[in-house]
Amino acid sequence: MMTKFARHRVAFSTLLAREIRRFIRIWPQTLLPPAITMTLYFVIFGNLIGSRIGEMGGFNYIQYIAPGIIMMSVINNAYSNVASSFFSAKFQNHIEELLVAPVPNYLILAGYVAGGTARGLCVGLIVTLVSLFFTHLNIQHIFITISMVFLSAILFALGGFINAIYARSFDEISIIPTFILTPMTYLGGVFYSISLLPEFWQNISLLNPILYMVNAFRYGMLGSSDIAVEVAFGIIIVCIISLTSFALYLLNKGTGIRD
């Protein structure tokens, strides 16, 4: 007779394996586009324009933007993986496979978020490898680098999950990435240091959580950051706890999945 813990472990690993199988099966839609897009970023912003910009934060421009570009791809992919996978499960009704099974809500959340995190990290690794064709990356703080990319992937996978819970059409899972996530990423210090901005816009930028992730990740890789790394970790952990609690509240209430 299996213990409850053993059954839950099997259920979680089944869900995670299914999610990984899904994004690998559709790799031309999930793994290839970020590699191509980010290569273009490196070519255009790094090599062509970057060579005229000169140094930023004490590094040549392509080196400066590489951590932000990697983080941007992790965030986007972690988010969109969960948003599209969970929404598709709702749309095709195969979410019912999980709802009728003895899988507690926190495991459903954990499985999807782990799947999104896996894709985020996988794409992050691919983009990191691509970046090595354009620049050198001497990682300064390995623990900070890995933990920051991991926590950021989790946070945005949670965001994608909540988006999918509320979404009633495929349009509604693309609205937030297009109109909120992308502008926040571009304004989150991926391509510039906020020290270049006027004070007012610097203060506004501090409201953007992506700024903290990009800078903490850049600190891990290059040893340079616009903000205190401890603050970045604090904010991300608080955001993860808040979104996890909210996602579980929605699941327990049955929002978007149970009549």
């Binding site: 299996m2 409850k4 053993a6 059954r7 839950h8 099997v10 259920a11 690993s13 089944t14 869900l15 394996a17 299914r18 199988r21 899904r22 099966r25 559709i26 598709s88 499960a89 095709q92 009704n93 195969h94 019912e96 496979e97 999980l98 709802l99 009728v100 099974a101 003895p102 899988v103 507690p104 049955g254 149970r258 009549d259």
Partner: protein, 311 residues
């Protein structure tokens, strides 16, 4: 005296949807372990809502549901582990392979892949899906999808199998082979609850029956008692030669469908011989005959009509 364990016990179950529609108005229902139970009702009667609540797909408004004595509100994980559901609509990930669907479903019930695989293979063979095991589910025919839903519901060896119109849109040959399969599972001890629009199916397979209409149980009894309540049957007779214009059958309800087809109502305790004698007296020869409707169908319509009249 043997006390039979209840596979399902529903008490005063109500469901009011957000739009105010009252789908269930306090139904109570018991299904014994080992039973083959029919839950019948017209469209929108509340069958799928009831099944949705039992299987945690729908949130109840009030009342209680116990599955093998486990309250779904108190220990939903244990209650769910007893149940296998074959839903009305196809609900697969269309891109997943048939065998992956079964192994994943077993995994959600805590069965590791190495144990799930032989069970999945066994079901794929039994249900004639072995050749399609590596095919994405969206590429299956309608009948194959129905069989895959049955295999998926059985992969964790549930003690209670709930089938919501499992043979809808399935050809008669496949339907009959599914009946045999379900009868064999029931004979091995699995309790089965079936909803269907094919009343012949319910009459053939089920021992007990509940009829639900407009959120109320209008009948809950065993199939034999219900069918015994049928006091009249209607037969359709094909005649060898056209009826004469002055043909009458005194003392009987009958209807001339056309010159060579006659519909006659007979009391249940009256033999057919009297009818044939009356016809012979008038020189009418019958070449073939059939029941106008399945026996259960007549009762079903009578019960649902009656509930309409009282509401």
């Amino acid at each position: 005296m043997t006390i039979t364990m209840k596979a399902l016990s529903i008490q005063n179950l109500t469901k009011v949807y957000n739009n105010g529609f009252e789908a269930l108005k306090g139904i109570s229902l018991d299904v014994n372990q080992g039973d083959f139970f029919a839950l019948l009702g017209p469209n929108g009667a509340g069958k799928s809502t009831t099944i949705g609540i039992i299987t945690s797909l729908v949130t109840k408004s009030s009342g209680s549901v116990r599955v093998f004595d486990t309250d779904i509100d108190i220990d939903s994980e244990t209650a769910k582990s007893y149940i296998g559901l074959v839903p009305q609509e196809f609900n697969f990930n269309g891109f997943e392979q048939v065998k992956h669907i079964l192994i994943s479903q077993a995994g959600y019930y805590g069965i590791p892949a190495n144990q799930a695989e032989p069970r999945a293979d066994e079901l794929l063979l039994q249900l004639g899906l072995w050749d399609k095991r590596h095919t994405p589910s969206r590429a299956l025919s309608g009948g194959m999808k129905r069989r895959l839903m049955i295999a998926r519901a059985l992969v964790h060896k549930p003690q209670l199998l709930i089938l919501d119109e499992p043979t809808a849109g399935v050809d008669i040959e496949l339907r009959r082979s599914m009946w045999l399969f379900l009868q064999a599972i029931n004979a091995q001890g699995t309790t089965i609850i079936l909803t269907t629009h094919y009343l012949e199916e319910a009459e053939k397979l089920c021992r007990n029956i509940a009829i639900i209409d407009k959120g109320v149980i209008v009948e809950n009894t065993d199939m034999k008692s219900l069918l015994n309540r049928l006091d009249k049957e209607t037969f359709v007779l094909d005649l060898k030669s056209p009826l004469s214009p002055d043909f009458t059958l005194s003392g009987r309800n009958y209807h001339r469908l056309d010159d060579t087809t006659l519909e006659v109502e007979l009391k249940r305790d009256e033999g057919l011989n009297n009818l044939f004698a009356a016809l012979s007296l008038q020189g009418v020869e019958v070449s073939s005959m059939k029941n106008k409707a399945n026996r259960l169908e007549e009762l079903f319509l009578a019960l649902v009509d009656k509930s309409d009249a009282t509401l």
